[in-house]
């Protein structure tokens, strides 16, 4: 469906609808919170029952998520030692490869066997679809790094990680999408890096994005779109079909794991609908994780875990942060939105609408590491983390646009519209309200209890039920702590175990984090959208301590 994926330049009727839908999430979140406070004060009995029902749903959700976090973590471990390059070469000659691998009982370890089973299933699906991929030797990777204030300490590890990939580097093109308004030292660094890595890859060049372009906002999407358009010209000039190009749009601090591009190539090749799919790795925030305050460590580990859980549900998965997709799809949908902050999720919705619902996200159990927002002191870091979360929560800007598209589209099935619309709405509502209800509002009926409520059975039963539910929640947190400890990168300092023990205790800050770094920025973002005070792109502070 041809759809103008933007809030700008709408016809009056569409603009009105857009504005109403912008108000909806914030209004609902505030209604839930204020409504519960009102009920807690004037009708504590009703509030207590509603809150108990919410607590129960919350614990069910936590246990459900913990189960899939465990399974997802297992799957990540299963695929940790997979030889993606071998599999890629196999797909190049699929009929022979299928015959070779099908009867084999592959590997000694259960992990290898499970991985092989999944691999076989994917191969059979590919074979049955009849839509075979281009040969791996004809596939190209395009990597775009948007740069505005990131220095060499941030950029070089990112590009260095790509230069150490176990997939053909001469099939990789790296583009620095440099903002014209970037400071001179940053520009110099970019040109130095371009020179240094030009011969390592198929090509490495810089595209400067003009400071002012009519119709564009000062957002990352505009910068990377400019770079991608230049890349399109680059591939056209070399007669490389867009179908053979996989684009990865990375944040400047993204350090990919050694087999990222091999894994990405495999998933691209094995997916029959490879041109209608985005490929989502698991983002982890390990670059500077041991150099940030404890709360920031917990916040970002939580974000990684959220992605791990979401990875188990491709039907509802939406692209997030650094990810990859078919370049053909990107060109077809006319690149990223140039006036939206949440370009990473917006590109999924834009593609989903463009292809009338025939677009999906393929989860990849491979990690790429980024920086935790960090500044020079605790308060600055807290401010940076808050702003970053607010920017993530600004993804709610997609809601009104997606809803308008759903209302217009006749080809997307109604069930899909309802399912995804509900997920988008409920996700934002629960993001902005759960933390407040769990940590603060849940206690109000007891605090504001008046005589008649204080002498009711409910008054005495609510804390009891809440305690049982929180005990179960603590069990889930214990599992999260164990996984968190096993997933964290090793550090070369003495008394590492002490550091890890400290990190385990940092998880006790979860109630505080839920309110300050989750619910509050989300509610802030929704309130701004509600009042039409649109957020401007705010580049997150990143700070690394040099490794000796």
């Amino acid at each position: 469906m041809k759809f103008h994926y933007s809030k700008e330049n709408l016809k009056p009727r569409q603009a009105k609808l857009q504005r109403s839908l912008e108000i909806l999430p914030g209004a609902c979140s505030w209604s839930v919170l204020l409504g519960l406070i009102f009920l807690s004060i004037f009708f504590p009995f009703t509030a207590a029952i509603l809150i108990a029902a919410f607590y129960l749903s919350w614990i069910m959700r936590i246990l459900y998520s913990t189960l899939f976090l465990l399974l997802s973590y297992l799957q990540m471990n299963i695929e940790r030692n997979t030889d993606w390059v071998l599999r890629i070469h196999g797909i190049d000659n699929l009929p022979v490869y299928l015959k070779e691998v099908t009867p084999k009982r592959f590997g000694r370890h259960w992990r290898q066997r499970v991985s092989h089973k999944i691999h076989l299933r994917q191969l059979n699906k590919l074979s049955a679809s009849g839509i075979l991929p281009p040969a791996s030797k004809d596939l190209y990777h395009l990597v775009i790094f948007p740069v505005i204030k990131e220095g060499r300490d941030i950029l070089e590890p990112a590009i260095d990680a790509i230069s150490r990939q176990n997939f053909h580097l001469k099939q990789t093109v790296v583009i620095f999408a440099l903002e014209e308004r970037a400071a001179l030292p940053i520009q110099n660094t970019v040109y130095e890096l371009e020179k240094k890595y030009k011969d390592v890859f198929f090509d490495c060049f810089t595209v400067v994005h003009p400071a002012v372009v009519p119709g564009e906002a000062r957002v990352k999407g505009a910068n990377v779109t400019c770079a991608a358009k230049q890349a399109a010209v680059f591939f056209q000039n070399r007669q490389i079909p867009f179908e053979n190009v996989i684009i990865s749009c990375f944040d400047a601090d993204t350090v990919v794991s050694l087999n990222y591009f091999a894994c990405l190539t495999y998933h691209f090749m094995v997916s029959p609908n490879r041109h209608r799919a985005s490929f989502q790795p698991i983002p982890v925030y390990h670059n500077n994780i041991w150099h940030v305050p404890g709360f920031a460590r917990v916040v970002e580990t939580g974000s990684s875990f959220y992605q791990l859980i979401e990875a188990t549900n491709p039907e509802k998965l939406v692209t997030f942060s650094s990810h990859s997709m078919s370049f053909k799809a990107l060109v077809d949908v006319d690149y990223w939105p140039v006036d939206m902050i949440s370009d990473d999720s917006a590109i999924f919705w834009k593609s989903y609408i463009h292809y009338d619902g025939q677009y999906q996200v393929v989860p990849m159990y491979v990690t790429l590491s980024m920086d935790v927002a960090s500044a020079h002191n605790w308060w600055q870091t807290a401010y940076s983390v808050y702003k970053q979360k607010q920017r993530w929560a600004w993804g709610v800007e997609n809601f009104p646009i997606v809803m308008r598209a759903f209302l217009r589209s006749k080809k997307i099935p109604l069930y899909e519209k309802l399912r995804l619309g509900f997920k988008l709405f409920e996700g934002n509502l629960s993001w902005a309200t759960s933390g407040f209800i769990l940590s603060i509002i849940g206690w109000l009926p007891v605090i504001f209890a008046r005589r008649e409520f204080a002498s009711s059975v409910v008054y005495y039963n609510v804390p009891d039920i809440a305690n049982t539910i929180f005990a179960l929640g603590f069990f889930a947190i214990c599992i999260t702590i164990i996984l968190s400890l096993s997933i964290l990168p090793k550090t070369k300092i003495r008394y590492r175990w002490l550091l890890k023990l400290g990190h385990a205790f940092e998880w006790l800050m979860v109630p505080f984090i839920l309110v300050v770094f989750s619910a509050m920025p989300a509610l802030h973002a929704q309130t701004r959208l509600m009042f039409g005070k649109y957020l401007e792109f705010w580049v997150t502070d990143k700070k690394r301590i040099p490794q000796k």
Binding site: A52, L56, L71, N313, A454, Y460, N461, V462
Partner: protein, 364 residues
């Protein structure tokens, strides 16, 4: 993974749909009677005792909870509740239970088999007054015999040394304000009427003669415990503000007196206290000190504690739960441990469960 996720989702959703109404019903006090398999409405009893950790029996069955305890799933009607603790009398009542309601027995005072009473002084006094934080002034007509006690912290110390110029003076009245570290002594010293302002925060206490600031003998003197500079002298017609620091006296509009003025003069008696989160009355009747614990479900009971010298003050220290009084026979200072623990205050007790104390009596 996707199919597994769907299956687990539906299982969890089903569990939620089944469990949620059950939990809400449980919260409201509905349970299934195992004998009849019918849903019955139940109530509960909340019991906290002073002291806590007492054993509770409901209808003769030992409860697994010690006080404070919430006894749930009690069918409507009367239930016999007994509370036991070593060294204390058993507390037993028929407690009525109403469906969906909580019967609150908050801060139930357990009466010891023998009240713990301790002698503090080896000499007799005329009267006692509370002053400042935990300070007790034990008075005698002669100023050098007035002692200060820091509640329960050993023997008292003389307010005036024997060499003090005020030592031989005779006490007429003593004014103190709750929680104020100052007292005002009205005394006759060498045939002169004097007013002495005493700061008990200092060690030894600092005494200042402020007699010049009084034109006549006031009927009452009062001050706010948060204000260390101003006192108010009440005469028959006028009220004067006396600034002790600046030695200034000014006429005060009687209608604009600061709130929180409170003093106790030696001619006013303090012998009634609402204690234990205001649900127990501690009072002297004649010479007998008695306690009336809260009673909701049975005949009122009264317990004798000790005998106190008539027309003297008693002092109940809320922090420690101790009562200070002068013994009827000897005039010695004694203390009785009335509340072993500070009462629990976090549960709002319905007004219907509080002892109804007439307003005049409660103005202690």
């Amino acid at each position: 993974m996707l199919w597994l996720r769907k299956i687990v989702f539906y299982i969890f959703a089903l569990i939620y749909l089944v469990i949620c109404p059950l939990i809400v019903a449980r919260m409201l006090g509905f349970v299934i009677n195992p004998l009849t398999h019918h849903i019955v409405k139940t109530g509960l009893v909340y019991i906290s005792t002073n002291p806590p950790d007492a054993t509770v029996y409901v209808d003769g069955r030992l409860s697994h909870q010690k006080t404070p305890a919430v006894l749930r799933d009690l069918r409507p009607g009367k239930h016999f509740i007994r509370i036991e603790m070593d060294g204390y009398n058993d507390w037993e009542r028929d407690v009525p239970i109403v469906g969906k309601k909580a019967t609150v027995l908050a801060n139930t005072l357990l009466i010891p088999q023998e009240w713990p009473i301790k002698k503090i002084s080896d000499r007799s006094y005329q009267n006692i007054f509370p002053a400042g934080q935990d300070i007790l002034i034990a008075t005698d007509p002669i100023l050098k015999d007035i002692d200060i006690y820091h509640s329960s912290q050993g023997p008292g110390k003389s307010l005036f040394s024997k060499n003090s110029i005020y030592a031989d003076g005779l006490l007429v009245r003593l004014f103190s304000a709750p929680k104020s570290p100052f007292i005002l002594l009205e005394a006759t010293i060498k045939d002169k009427h004097k007013f002495l302002w005493v700061n008990l925060k200092e060690n030894p206490p600092m005494v200042e003669d402020i007699s010049d600031l009084f034109s006549d003998i006031p009927t009452r003197i009062a001050w706010d415990n948060a204000d260390n500079e101003n006192i108010f002298a009440f005469y028959l017609r006028d009220v004067y503000r006396i600034n002790i620091k600046d030695k200034a006296v000014s006429l005060q509009d009687a209608g604009r007196l600061p709130e929180g003025l409170g003093t106790q003069a030696s001619d006013a008696l303090s012998d009634k206290f609402l204690i234990n989160d205001k649900n127990t009355l501690l009072v002297r009747e004649g010479i007998q000190i008695r306690i009336y614990p809260k009673e909701d479900f049975g005949p009122s009971k009264v317990y004798d504690i000790a005998r106190s010298k008539p027309l003297t003050n008693m002092y109940f220290e809320e922090k420690t739960g101790e009562l200070f009084y002068l013994d009827d026979d000897t005039g010695f200072l004694y203390t009785a441990q009335i509340l072993p623990y500070h009462p629990i205050l976090n549960i709002p007790i319905p007004e219907s469960l509080r002892i109804d104390i007439p307003k005049k009596e409660s103005a202690i």
